[in-house]
């Protein structure tokens, strides 16, 4: 449906005027964008470019820090999702908003369930639900089925059906096809065509480039919270798009020499769990940083959790290689299905900095002191009794070497900025005798200044002979820090690049590639691990 942009009426349906959003850092920087009735506007960009934040502002889930919007000429500043929906602006979110224990029909009509004096009218409920399901080609689903019994793709379709209502003026779809089969995707596209014909404006958030070609009239590319370009889709090649998504200058760090890699410390052989991680093999070497790139949902976090024993692998193995300096000639120990628990991994000298430090890394209500010494309590205790003087000295040292900005080591970590929180997590692994440190998005939510300090800390750890594995959505960061970069897509490690061999284009192309489908473009296959 690559039709030319519909003739824009004099006034666009929605005007976004210099909208910006700050959390601790600026995530959206004065976006100005117009949306016309009856068009499909694709919103694309790398992870963290600001696509979701912008969509959420439009749909009332977040409020803008700066700027304003106008809907059909009227000032539009929805305070809540409910208010936006009343004005006909709806959003299908990536995270499903369905209540799994209720039926499909109840979910579809939630908030306007047909009733007589409070008693549910089942017949009317099911008739209305069936009509709504038919719109999107889901006639086969019985509206009385509990949502929890549907597959994830069908749940996604129900979520979409729920938002296809007659009063919709703007429909925002955030990565709607992430879990859909090709057949479901075409139903969705048919439905989008029907909506646009009625004058509904669609904002289609996706980084699936071939999909954008099929459906979008115009495409807006975001990068680092800024609008790079907004132009008709016709005439844009995939290369043009990737160029715009990436298009930044290469910093000096990206040209630094490769670190000298030591012996292999830890390796994984064909490790996997369900479909989330499949047959991943890799080697981590002392003194180098192994980067992991890939889209959100490509299995990066799951891989790190397997390597740490936070989840148990159901196939493959992990090998720990003894230090050749102290135990020359010793054979590596093989752990079938990886570590059994994080305790075992930590005992073997493997540490993990989790992706979500608030829910998995820190004890938010507790002090810096307690958080910093958590993973090595034996270092600050004798016969089970804590040695507070020793602990205080140790923590004072961390606060100074890492430059943690705080009132006192007794300050609760929850009150620190993201960067300082992450330094506390680092502190935990700093004093432990460690051989491997796994880092999952270590700089997420960390401002630029603190990032530089964290990079310096990672450099020092690598220089001291630790093997580091670092997952990041920020390609520039990986290209600056890593000596090798492995790219994950759909649960597989599809390519491994050596420093000097990669470019942002080749990394992105590998991340967008579909394993099992077409071959990852770029010069990657030589070092790509064998897949079964």
């Amino acid at each position: 449906m690559n039709r030319p942009a519909s003739q824009a009426p004099a006034a666009p349906l929605l005007c976004i005027d210099a909208v910006g959003k700050d959390y601790t850092a600026t995530v959206l920087d004065s976006i100005t964008l117009a949306l016309n009735a009856g068009e499909v506007l694709a919103l694309t960009g790398e992870n963290g470019a600001g696509k979701s934040t912008l969509s959420k502002i439009v749909c009332g889930l977040e409020s803008a820090t700066r700027g304003g919007m106008r809907l059909a000429g009227e000032t539009y500043a929805p305070a809540s999702r409910r208010e936006a929906e009343r004005l006909g602006v709806r959003m299908v979110m990536q995270e499903l908003g369905l209540v799994p224990t209720l039926t499909v029909a109840e979910n579809l009509l939630m908030g306007r369930l047909p009733h007589r004096a409070g008693w549910l009218r089942r017949d009317a409920l099911h008739t209305a639900a069936r009509a709504q399901l038919a719109k999107i080609g889901l006639d086969s689903i019985d509206p009385a089925t509990p949502v929890s019994q549907l597959g994830i793709g069908q749940q996604q379709m129900v979520e979409i059906a729920r938002n296809l209502q007659d009063d919709t003026r703007i429909l925002v779809l955030d990565e709607p096809t992430a879990m859909l089969t090709p057949r479901e995707t075409s139903y969705l596209f048919d439905q989008i065509a029907r909506l646009t014909a009625r004058g509904v404006a669609i904002v289609y958030v996706s980084h699936r480039l071939e999909e954008l070609r099929r459906i979008a009239d115009r495409v807006a590319v975001l990068r680092d919270g800024r609008l790079v370009d907004a132009r008709p889709m016709a005439g844009m090649s995939e290369d043009d798009l990737v160029q715009r998504m990436v298009g930044r200058s290469v910093s000096d760090l990206e040209h630094r020499p490769r670190r000298a890699a030591g012996p292999v410390v830890m390796s994984a052989q064909g490790i996997g769990r369900g479909t989330a991680v499949q047959d991943v093999s890799l080697e981590l070497r002392a003194g180098e940083v192994f980067g992991i790139a890939g889209l959100v949902g490509s299995g990066r976090t799951e891989l790190v959790r397997l390597l740490f024993g936070a989840d148990r692998a159901d196939r493959g193995s992990v090998m720990l290689h003894p230090d050749p300096n102290t135990a020359a000639g010793a054979t590596p120990s093989v752990l079938p299905r990886g570590f059994a628990s994080p305790m075992q991994a930590i005992a073997a000298g493997v540490g993990l900095v989790t992706e979500d430090r608030k829910s998995q890394g820190l004890l938010l209500g507790q002090s810096i002191r307690i958080n910093a010494t958590l993973s090595d309590l034996s270092a600050i205790s004798r016969a089970g009794w804590l040695q507070r003087a020793k602990e205080n000295r140790l923590v004072q040292g961390f606060v100074q070497t890492l430059g943690i900005r705080c009132r006192s080591p007794e300050q609760p970590v929850g009150t620190l900025s993201g960067g300082n929180q992450q330094k506390v997590v680092f502190a935990r692994w700093l004093h432990r005798e460690g051989r491997v440190l796994l880092l999952d998005e270590p700089t997420r939510g960390v401002d630029v200044g603190a990032r530089a300090e964290l990079y310096g800390e990672l450099d020092r750890m690598a220089a001291s002979g630790r093997a580091l594995l670092m997952v990041s959505s920020d390609l520039r960061e990986l290209m600056a820090m890593a000596d090798r970069i492995g790219v994950m897509s759909a649960g597989r490690l599809v390519a491994v690049f050596e420093r000097g061999q990669w470019s942002e284009q080749s990394l992105l192309a590998a991340a967008f590639s579909e394993p099992g489908g077409r071959e990852a473009p770029g010069h990657s296959s030589s070092s790509s691990p064998a897949t079964v």
């Binding site: 740490f308 936070a310 628990s341 994080p342 305790m343 991994a345 930590i346 005992a347 993990l352 989790t354 829910s359 998995q360 890394g361 820190l362 004890l363 938010l364 209500g365 507790q366 002191r369 307690i370 958590l374 993973s375 309590l377 034996s378 205790s381 089970g384 009794w385 804590l386 507070r388 205080n392 000295r393 923590v395 004072q396 606060v399 100074q400 430059g403 943690i404 900005r405 705080c406 009132r407 006192s408 080591p409 007794e410 609760p412 935990r428």
Partner: protein, 331 residues
């Protein structure tokens, strides 16, 4: 830490850490003020409240409640709950009474049996909830029923008279203070030290705050959970001994509903039901507040219904005040 900070280091140099008790000072003072206020109120309302007799009564009532509240504090800090302590207390009292009266065991052996009974009950609660990942609310609710049934079996559903074999434990000595009171006092001190000064205590607080973060930091939460419940059971067993020493009898209905009194004392002391926060010393204040409230209301001649209404209001009011204080501190 004693070295003078150079001006350049001021920005990053961490100030001298505050001792843990200082951050708790506000709560201590608040609870003490509530306690003093209640004593003052009852003293003006009743001519007899401010007397040695009242003091002795309170000092005698407290130990069993205090000992169980110490264990419950740990349970609440790991975000659990143990509803079975009242029943476990009754069963422990019943087994020790049966041992002394029917099986003619020596007093120390019977006392050990009571403690072992409590320990086993607590371990079962902890182990079952950990092994099948069940909420401790459910498991301990089941234990509450099952153990109560056990107490009926052991006592043949009749009150067992123990006589004065162990009454020295709860008999008031000099100044009305009993051995049981001293044991409870010592336990409060030791438990507070364990909570704040040991690796175990640190892990307990950590697990209550964020169990997954503790697991990923290399601490296995499972044994710690079991130990907390096991110790709470053991302490309920001790409370059973104290109770049968004081009453010189083991009643199969003893301690019915006492779990709620124990939880109330802990909660009044500011321990969070959501876990991660609590103090044994504050729990002791909570125990005192409940005991003073009960004795005071009895002294002023409050009827049973109004006693219960007032107690209920005090519990909720105490928690509201504590919550507001915590929120202000966090802001």
């Amino acid at each position: 830490m004693n070295a003078p900070a150079s001006p350049a280091a001021v920005a990053v140099a961490a100030p001298r850490p505050t001792p843990a008790w200082r951050s708790q000072l506000g709560t201590y003072l608040g609870l003490m003020a509530v306690l003093a206020g209640m004593v003052a109120l009852f003293s003006t309302l009743s001519d007899y409240f401010w007397s040695v007799e009242t003091f002795v009564t309170i000092a005698n009532e407290i130990p069993a409640l205090a000992v169980m509240a110490v264990g419950m504090t740990f349970v609440l800090i790991i975000a659990g709950i143990d509803l079975s302590v009242g029943s476990v207390m009754a069963l422990a009292a019943a087994t020790s009474a049966a041992a002394i009266v029917q099986w003619k065991w020596s007093v120390p052996a019977a006392a050990l049996l009571a403690l072992a009974t409590g320990l086993i009950c607590g371990t079962v609660t902890g182990a079952v909830s950990v092994a099948w990942r069940l909420p401790s609310f459910i498991v301990s609710l089941g234990m509450l029923e099952a153990v109560r049934g056990g107490a009926y079996v052991v006592t043949d559903s009749r009150t067992q008279y123990v006589g004065d074999a162990i009454s020295w434990l709860s008999a008031p000595m000099l100044g009305g203070i009993s051995v049981a009171f001293l044991i409870a006092l010592a336990l409060v001190v030791v438990a507070q030290l364990v909570l704040t000064r040991t690796v175990f205590g640190r892990c307990v607080v950590g697990i209550g705050t964020n169990e997954e973060a503790m697991r990923l930091a290399g601490v296995d939460p499972r044994p710690i959970r079991v130990i907390v419940f096991a110790v709470t059971g053991l302490l309920a067993g001790l409370a059973g001994l104290m109770q049968s020493a004081r009453l010189e009898a083991a009643d199969p209905n003893a301690g019915t509903g006492m779990e709620l009194q124990v939880i109330a004392a802990v909660v009044i002391g500011g321990t969070s039901l959501m876990g991660g926060r609590g103090s044994v010393v504050n729990t002791a204040f909570g125990v005192l507040i409940i005991a003073v409230l009960e004795a005071g209301l009895a002294q002023v001649g409050a009827s049973e219904p109004s006693k219960r209404i007032i107690t209920g209001v005090v519990i909720v009011a105490a928690v509201i005040v504590d919550t507001l204080r915590q929120r202000r501190a966090a802001a």
